[in-house]
């Protein structure tokens, strides 16, 4: 029972963390960033490098997030900004960027970085031992959601961002610098991806294609969740985490992923706008 709860929490945290950056960008701007996995990889690489230079892990992760966020802002200015009226082309262009970054990393930094060791050791409950770091990740997932909620509800940036998303031209005519808001929102999404990479860097092998291990889960969570991070991504992460943990304990890792996929295909047939679409329609 404890084993299943641990699996469940771990899966839900992974889904929420993988998806939140993608979900912010999609929910706020309607853009699917296919280079999401590469931002995660970039964050992980920066984190590993900074921590190897002797910095404590939280600081290293922060550096990873910051680096990814800055690159995100630059990318938004150079490419994404020109494609807002062509959502399908944004996917295609970001896929091109993903190819350039992952293959470019392979050329510049070789097939892998030295792996980091997982900190915090393990704890024994009953007969099995569990990684403390993975418990910490569950806490971080909750903290990030809480932080985003605060950012979008209690700060001036959050109010302006929501105004921009709801009626862009109205916000603009009231003097909001909407281009800056879009830029920053994309940057926040990218920074969250970078943070996710940093958080998971100690737990996996650091290779240029590591982003691919996150994006399937991220896509599925965003599709099931719909456009809203709090009403969509969070519940979707929890629900899908349950499905994934159940299938994984029953049949193994791959069954967990297949379970996710089947779940998403069934959900879109019933809820094409995701969980948040359902909740928001019921409230309206």
């Amino acid at each position: 029972m404890v084993g299943f709860l641990y699996q469940f929490g771990d899966a839900a945290a992974f889904l929420v963390l993988s998806a939140c950056g993608l979900a912010i960008i999609f929910g706020m701007m309607g853009v699917i960033n296919l280079a999401h996995g590469e931002f995660i990889m970039g964050g992980a690489y920066v984190t590993a490098t900074v921590s190897k230079m002797g910095a404590p892990l939280p600081l290293a992760i922060l550096c990873g997030a910051l680096a990814a966020g800055l690159v995100g802002i630059v990318l938004e200015r150079l490419v994404i900004r020109h494609l807002y009226h062509r959502p399908l082309d944004t996917i295609v262009a970001t896929w091109g960027i993903s190819l350039i970054v992952s293959q470019g990393t392979l050329i510049l930094l070789g097939p892998s970085l030295t792996d980091m060791s997982t900190p915090l050791g393990s704890v024994t409950i009953g007969e099995l031992s569990y990684s403390v770091y993975r418990f910490a990740l569950m806490g971080v997932a909750v903290a990030i959601l809480a932080g985003l909620y605060a950012l979008f509800n209690f700060t001036r940036f959050g109010v302006l961002a929501r105004a921009t998303i709801q009626v862009p031209h109205m916000a603009e005519s009231l003097g909001v610098n909407t281009r800056l808001i879009y830029s920053l929102t994309f940057g926040i999404g990218a920074a969250l991806a970078g943070a996710t990479g940093g958080l998971y860097a100690p737990t996996m092998s650091l290779v240029p294609t590591m982003g691919a291990q996150f994006i399937m889960e991220a896509f599925v969570t965003v599709v099931v969740g719909g456009g809203d991070v709090f009403l969509g991504t969070a519940p979707a992460g929890v629900a899908l985490g349950f499905v994934k943990a159940l299938m994984t304990t029953w049949q193994g890792q791959l069954a967990g992923q297949i379970g996710l996929l089947v779940a998403v295909i069934l959900v879109i047939r019933i809820l094409p706008r995701g969980i948040s679409g359902l909740i928001l329609r019921e409230r309206a």
Partner: protein, 362 residues
């Protein structure tokens, strides 16, 4: 006496079906040059060495998948990232059928039909959930990509010997190999279509037939509805068309074409691996079709062949360099020439002409 009129009439009628507002290229000039290109392609094996012929077949193999994507995305407006999933599915299906039943009595052709049908059926089931759930533009892309990635991962973990279907071992990451090439039963011994001149003509013939068939399709009333849906799904619905059925039909046709590519590729090289449908492989058809010009079949075919050649030439330096160039090309095309490079080049004379005339008036 009236022979002169009699042969012209059917030719005109056929051309009328092949031409229309949905496709670039019409009239005598276009068809004569198209005929000349095909004639050149037919003469090519007579002057090229065996390796180059085999390699050209390899290029041709992929074009079917690209044309399928052109139909789904360029004409239908639905962006599918699942083409390589169907490519792999049909490739594996061809391997499983032929490894179990052998190649005698033209069974490989039967295997080809089964394999393509398998993709069509899976596409119909998946498409039912996607299109009848009326999911929007970007979601279709990411769900089909998720399906492709999971399928790749699934095939990659089938290394253990218990993953077998009859005599066919799936072989995990290393993929399946040793399936027989296509054969045509013939008096006095089957014709084995190894990557050589006979296979070249068969694939070239298929290519021409599929290209012309798709031209007829997109210029038919079906094609008009598909384009109407791309332009404005709501309007098409209001005009009484069931948008979902048309989208599903184009999706299935496109998937079957990807499956055909998969079968041809598998029988050509006698192997298929999971990485042929991974995220990098899945990006390639998107790149060919985008850079070529997704809005038209002809530009798609030309762009695909051009990029396949470029990619292979660059692979000499290492595939990672080739992929970086492809990625750059994709981003630049989307930003600077959204209708594709071939389309941009084709429109260049008109554009220059307009510029020139404007300049002249002013």
């Amino acid at each position: 006496m009236s022979a002169a009129i009699d042969w012209r009439f059917p030719v005109r009628q056929i051309l009328n079906r092949l031409e229309g507002p949905q496709t670039l290229g019409r009239g005598r000039k276009f068809w004569i040059s198209a005929g000349a290109v095909v004639a050149l392609a037919m003469a090519y094996p007579l002057v090229a060495d065996a390796y180059t012929v085999g390699n050209t077949i390899y290029f041709f193999n992929w074009v079917f998948m690209a044309m399928g994507l052109c139909l789904i995305w360029g004409y239908g407006g639905a962006l599918s990232f699942g083409q390589t999933a169907f490519f792999g599915l049909s490739g594996y299906a061809y391997g499983i059928v032929t490894l179990n039943f052998g190649a005698a009595y033209g069974l490989t052709l039967f295997a080809m039909i089964v394999a393509v049908a398998a993709s069509a059926v899976v596409a119909a089931v998946l498409g039912y959930f996607l299109f009848f759930g009326r999911i929007g533009g970007v979601f279709l892309g990411i769900v089909t990509l998720a399906v492709t990635l999971v399928f790749e991962r699934f095939m990659a973990q089938t290394a253990a010997p218990e993953w077998r279907i009859g005599n066919a071992r799936l072989n995990g990451f290393n993929g399946m190999s040793g399936m027989p090439p296509l054969t045509i039963p013939w008096h006095g011994g089957d014709i084995v279509l190894a990557p050589d001149i006979p296979l070249y003509y068969v694939v070239l013939g298929l290519l021409v037939v599929v290209y012309l068939a798709l031209r007829i399709l997109v210029n038919s009333s079906f094609g008009y509805v598909v384009v109407a849906i791309r332009e404005n799904p709501q309007r098409a619905t209001m005009l009484g068309y069931d948008v979902r059925k048309y989208q599903l039909a184009t999706f299935v046709i496109g998937a079957a074409l990807a499956g055909l590519s998969g079968v041809l590729y598998t029988s050509w090289g006698q192997y298929i691996t999971p990485s042929s449908m991974g995220i990098t492989a899945a990006a390639l058809p998107i790149i060919w079709v985008t850079v070529g010009g997704r809005g038209d079949l002809t530009t798609t075919v030309l762009g695909t062949l051009f990029l396949l050649g470029t990619f292979q030439a660059l692979t000499i330096y290492g595939s990672q360099y080739a992929l970086v160039v492809m990625g750059l090309l994709l981003v630049l095309t989307v930003l600077l020439a959204p209708n594709g490079l071939v389309t941009a080049l084709a429109q260049l004379p008109q554009w220059l002409d307009r510029r020139f005339r404007k300049g002249g008036v002013a």
